[in-house]
Amino acid sequence: MSTDARIVPAASLIPADAPFPKAAKVALGMPQLRKNLAHATGTIRAKRANVAGELDDWERLRDTASAIKADVQHRLPELAIEFERNATAAGATVHWARDAQEANEIAARIVREAGADEVVKVKSMATQEIELNEHFEAHGLKAFETDLAELIVQLAEDKPSHILVPAIHYNRTQIRDIFTQSMGDAPSGLTDEPAALAEAARLHLRRRFLSAKVAVSGANFAVAETGSLVVVESEGNGRMCLTMPETLISIVGLEKLLPRFGDLEVFMQLLPRSSTGERMNPYTSVWTGSREGDGPRDVHVILLDNGRTGVLADEVGRQALSCIRCSACLNVCPVYERTGGHAYGHVYPGPIGAILAPQLEPGRHDDLPYASSLCGACYEVCPVKINIPEVLVHLRQQGPHEAGEKAAMGAAKAVMARPRLWRAALKAARFGSMPWRRKGFLRRLPWPGSRWTVSRDLPVPPKEDFRDWWKERQR
């Protein structure tokens, strides 16, 4: 056992704020990471394909979900107010947060008012997005992750690299080492057997659940019609957080709203199959305000904008707000599979991150829309039919362009827009490549062509082109 091999947080190996190609290059050079990723994404991908294929109305479910989400985007203000009214009537306190700072401050205030200085957390992307844990830490509060994978990431002082499986970049031996080094109460002689690791985490977390006064969660869905919140999970640790502490704070992105309770019927079929590849997830918690003698007494909901209403203004881009964070697009993405999540430099990685991050934080992440070969595998699996390739191209067309590239593209267009110039350029290319014709290809080109020849040869134009042939046979 190599327990002294200190685990280095994977995220710390990727240069912070590096543009995607540079960060990806570092990730590509990590063989263990690539092995873990290929194995994990490959497994979930196959499971998803199996269970999605079981339903004959899968495509109709996708269409319906997409239509419901489009309706939500059209009626967001009225649905948010309807949610507030119904949740308040049921005993919850609803707060509105314009941005991360406001949401964090509201949450911290509620924790202090409850007389607590620590919270247990349900796995939540919204709290990752606003960096709630970091904010708490800076203000003398402590947030404990209770989702197993989030716990691993937190103990490793790392960052999640996947939306659904945040510790996808670690294998079980590495997880054993992380537990042994950082959990404090890990049993001695802990092996890397999955059952032993789960038991160690279970004992560790039980102590936290029993002492916590406040829990923080996100939500998968917020139902306007009833004021209910929904959390979908696998482990039951979320259920512990949602039911045991006296105070519950849920931070919910505005786009999580659904008009009717009945809409859950559609999403509860799509989400588990798309995310974990299961027909049904083990734990679904639904709560509406507070109730005497049942669960938390003091229930808070923080509705979070943090850039979302800005995205609504873009008719093409706003479909990104339909995302239900299933991460099916990550698992099928050939780019994500090879780089992992940290290379994207944002809490939302993969194809959905490449269209969400630059829209939530305009002016940043302009490199992400290019982190795709536009292969379309993401669109094919997306349960809410976000046309990710379309949005990627749309964002590329909005974004700034590098001057040299812009000039080259302009020149290419000028030639291609004039058939005579185009024919002359083809002739020039044939003439210029004559010395290599016998060999048939070029192996080395100067920059920027070297970006191609780093791994591929380039064929040279043949002696006779199609146009000559066509002219000849027309005679």
Partner: protein, 231 residues
């Protein structure tokens, strides 16, 4: 008989004359008269997908002008056909893409043939290119045409639906990730032991072929050239 215009694509115009020649051969064998309007250049996909909308719109308008007179436009590229169908409506409002067919679409949906009378006594593995398969929805149309070829030995390509890593300027901008994807594709292609790797897009085949040229493996070939081989 519809008036058929042939769009050979800029890649074939520059590098692969045998592919459009093969399209002409197959269509003429089936009794179609094919025309090649010489003023054609490029559909504008490179510009559109790299973020240059105005440049792309300029090229789209040229395409529309050149191919306006035809009832059907046939092209040996799933990617370029998808460009005209999916992106032209946003770029210029043109619906000409409805009349643009990737070769296998034209053969199966319009000409209603699967057996085009070809013979190709070789082992072939087929890579379903991303834009053809997903954007255009070709499904197994090119494969159905290949299955009907006499004496062909078709072998499955492992992880066939995985992108080869080309992606136009992606191959340059994200050269390292692209190369990692390519390495896997080349390995899978070589593992089949096939003599040829067929696909519906010479741009992807340039990429895969460029890798195989170094690592070894099947020879890249556009499936149109297999269909054109005489019985």
């Amino acid at each position: 008989m519809p008036r058929v215009g042939l769009f050979i694509t800029c890649v074939n115009d520059a590098l692969f004359p045998e592919t459009p020649k093969a399209v002409v051969a197959v269509l003429e064998r089936l009794g179609y008269e094919v025309d090649f309007p010489a003023a054609q250049t490029c559909c504008g996909q490179m510009h559109a997908n790299s973020g240059y909308k105005d440049d792309a719109a300029r090229l789209a308008r040229s395409f529309e002008r050149v191919f306006e007179p035809y009832d059907a436009v046939v092209t040996p590229s799933g990617s370029c056909a998808a460009m005209t169908r999916d992106q032209y409506p946003h770029l210029t409002g043109s619906t000409i893409g409805r009349r643009v067919y990737e070769l296998s679409e034209f053969l199966i949906d319009v000409a209603r043939v699967e057996d085009v009378g070809a013979r190709f006594p070789h082992t072939v593995t087929y890579h379903p290119t991303c834009h053809g398969t997903r954007a255009l929805g070709l499904g197994d149309k090119p494969l159905r045409l290949l299955r009907a070829v006499r004496d062909i030995d078709l072998v499955d390509l492992p992880a066939a639906d995985q992108c080869c890593g080309f992606g136009g300027t992606f191959a340059l901008k994200n050269s390292e990730v692209s190369s990692a994807m390519l390495a896997d594709k080349c390995r899978h292609a070589a593992d089949t032991g096939a003599e040829y790797l067929a696909a519906a897009d010479n741009s992807c085949l340039t990429h895969i072929g460029g890798g195989i040229s170094r690592s070894g493996g099947p020879r890249p070939i556009h499936y149109a050239e297999i269909l054109a081989s005489a019985a």
